[in-house]
Symmetry: C3
Subunit: 151 residues, 3 copies
């Protein structure tokens, strides 16, 4: 019974940690903390961003945030919005599924720049939960984006 409760606690803590990990992406991206964004991933983790290609490893993910595109977006004003994920929890791995939206500030108004599907493969490491792979693709009618959201 103690062991049973312990496993139930552990599962709740896992869900909580995964949710907090994903909830940190938007604030870290919008405050431009490139190394902290990269540290959400495992050392050899990867991030596939629609048609921009795949960033492999923390250095490549850091470079995404340090890129002119991202830095200009920040200066212009942007919001990286992520929804609370649906989580399928395994023992030391998990799949999370959610939406992300990027708003950008243009001429005193906000434009909805991207509305995307996201699928996160998460792994439990010695340092806690990290992203093994994140797949992001705009929901612009592309069947591959819809497929990311299948549960």
């Amino acid at each position: 019974m103690g062991q049973f409760d312990f496993n139930r606690l552990r599962r709740l803590e896992d869900a909580e940690a995964i949710r907090n990990l994903i909830a940190s992406y938007g604030p870290l991206a919008d405050s431009g903390d490139a190394s902290a964004v990269a540290a959400l991933w495992t050392g050899d983790g990867s991030y596939s961003v629609g048609d921009f290609g795949v960033a492999k490893g923390r250095q490549a993910i850091t470079a995404l945030i340090e890129s002119d595109m991202h830095q200009n977006l920040m200066k212009q004003g942007c919001g990286h919005i992520l929804t609370s994920p649906h989580i399928i929890l395994g023992n030391d791995s998990a799949i999370a599924t959610n939406h992300s939206i990027v708003f950008r500030h243009v001429d005193d108004r906000y434009e909805t720049w991207r509305v995307s599907a996201n699928r996160w493969q998460l792994v439990h490491t010695d340092d806690g939960w990290r992203v093994g792979h994140r797949d992001n693709r705009p929901l612009s009618g592309d069947e591959r984006a819809r497929a990311l959201l299948s549960l």
Copy 2:
């Protein structure tokens, strides 16, 4: 004390399960998994969608997702965004309140099509938490939409 902890665990698990149930709606709707959307509801559950009327029972809810309107929305590109709900938890029932937004892809940009209030009546069944009734109404100045959000 053991029993006490057990109840506290159970309440946390209930909140987690309800959050995950609601978090699955957007991914399932956007990937077009009509029967899985319907299975979020109880067998005789119902879904009131603003002025579109009330879908009663799983067959009617399946039909919403299989409708030309929803299928065209998917092909065009859409995102069904739901916020993390406020949850009032009873023993075997709960009320959750949140917002939903539907973005649609039009001419290479995203249009905010609907911003709605949602009130979910949830019930704990032998198969876990399910939706007994969901009430959705666009926040377009309609007093009935605002009333759905009163806590």
Copy 3:
């Protein structure tokens, strides 16, 4: 071990309570429940809303919701959307970070009026978790808004 589990339960309950507190802001603001909005704060809590200044104490926060600006927004149709917060939990205090978006209904469409950074200082009181201070600032290129999101 019992004590250990108890602390782990308490931390999960704290995160859950903080998430539910923040999740209630949007529904309460959009349903116009001014006194319930104010009651999310401590008696001497404060709410800094970008360039609108700082509302100090529950009476001032009540006045924000009862203001002509907010009441007109509600009549016109609006949605106060908040993302699931990143939470850094202390013993009796916490920092939560998230985004908020205000949509308003204009001429049969929805306009993205504000996309903001939020930083919440929360305190555990005898009545449960309350907001000690909330800092909100639009992400319009302002460095101070980005700074609110640093973790």
